[in-house]
C-alpha cells in the first residue's frame, strides 16, 4: 500500500535554481529513501536517511527528515537539465524490508 505521498506532483524550474519537494508518510519508519527515475527507465537510488537522522547531504542533494511530522524534503541545489526526472520517496515500516513508494514529483529543469 502507498505510504509516502510527494508534493508537489509537478515542478518546473529554471536551470541554476533550487528544487524542493516534500514527502509525507503515515506510520513509523525505519528509514526513508529517495529515488530518481528518468523518463521510461528504472529507478535509481539517491539517498537514504535513517529515522534517527535529521539531515543528510549527498553532492547537490539535501534531505531532511522530521519524524514528529512524518515528513521529509528533498532539495536539489543549482539544478541542471540532467536533473529533469521524476523523484520518489520510499519508506519501510520498522522490521520490514519492503518499501512503499509515493506517486512521485515530476521535475522539469528548463535551460
Amino acid at each position: 500500500s502507498q505510504q509516502g505521498e510527494e508534493d508537489p506532483q509537478a515542478l518546473s524550474i529554471q536551470e541554476g535554481e533550487n528544487a524542493t519537494m516534500n514527502c509525507s508518510y503515515k506510520t513509523s519508519i525505519n528509514n526513508l529513501q529517495w529515488y530518481r527515475q528518468n523518463s521510461g527507465r528504472g529507478l535509481v537510488h539517491l539517498i537514504l536517511i535513517r529515522s534517527n537522522e535529521r539531515e543528510k547531504h549527498s553532492g547537490r542533494l539535501r534531505v531532511t527528515l522530521d519524524t514528529s511530522k512524518k515528513s521529509s524534503s528533498l532539495l536539489i541545489t543549482a539544478s541542471r537539465a540532467a536533473d529533469t526526472a521524476s523523484y520518489f520517496c520510499a519508506t519501510d515500516n520498522k522490521g520490514d524490508y519492503k518499501l512503499s513508494f509515493g506517486a512521485g514529483t515530476t521535475v522539469t529543469v528548463r535551460a
Binding site: Q2, N30, N31, Y35, R41, G42, L43, L48, Y97, A103
Partner: protein, 115 residues
Amino acid sequence: DVKVTQSSRYLVKRTGEKVFLECVQDMDHENMFWYRQDPGLGLRLIYFSYDVKMKEKGDIPEGYSVSREKKERFSLILESASTNQTSMYLCASSLLRGAGVNEQFFGPGTRLTVL
C-alpha cells in the same frame, strides 16, 4: 555495480495470452521484487521473494504469479493477460532481509501492452 536486467524493454501481447517477464540480478541479493507502475499511482508491489522458492504477495497480486527457482532469477507470470495489465513492470533486488538497509536496485523496466 549491481546490475538488474529484464528480458524485454517493450512487449506487445494479446488478451488471454500467457506472458513471462524475466528478471536477473548479478549481486547475489536475497530479496527480489516485482512492481507495476501506472501514471499517478506510483509503484505498486505485486510480489516479492526473500529466498529461492519463497514468495509473498504484495499489494496487487491478483492475475499474477511468480517463480524463483534460482537466486538470481525472478519471473513474473501473467496467466491470462488482460488489457488492464497494460503497464510498466519494474523488477528490483536488495540485500538480505533484516539488514536494516534495504536500498533497492532496479532494472530498466518492461513496458507491456496487452491488446
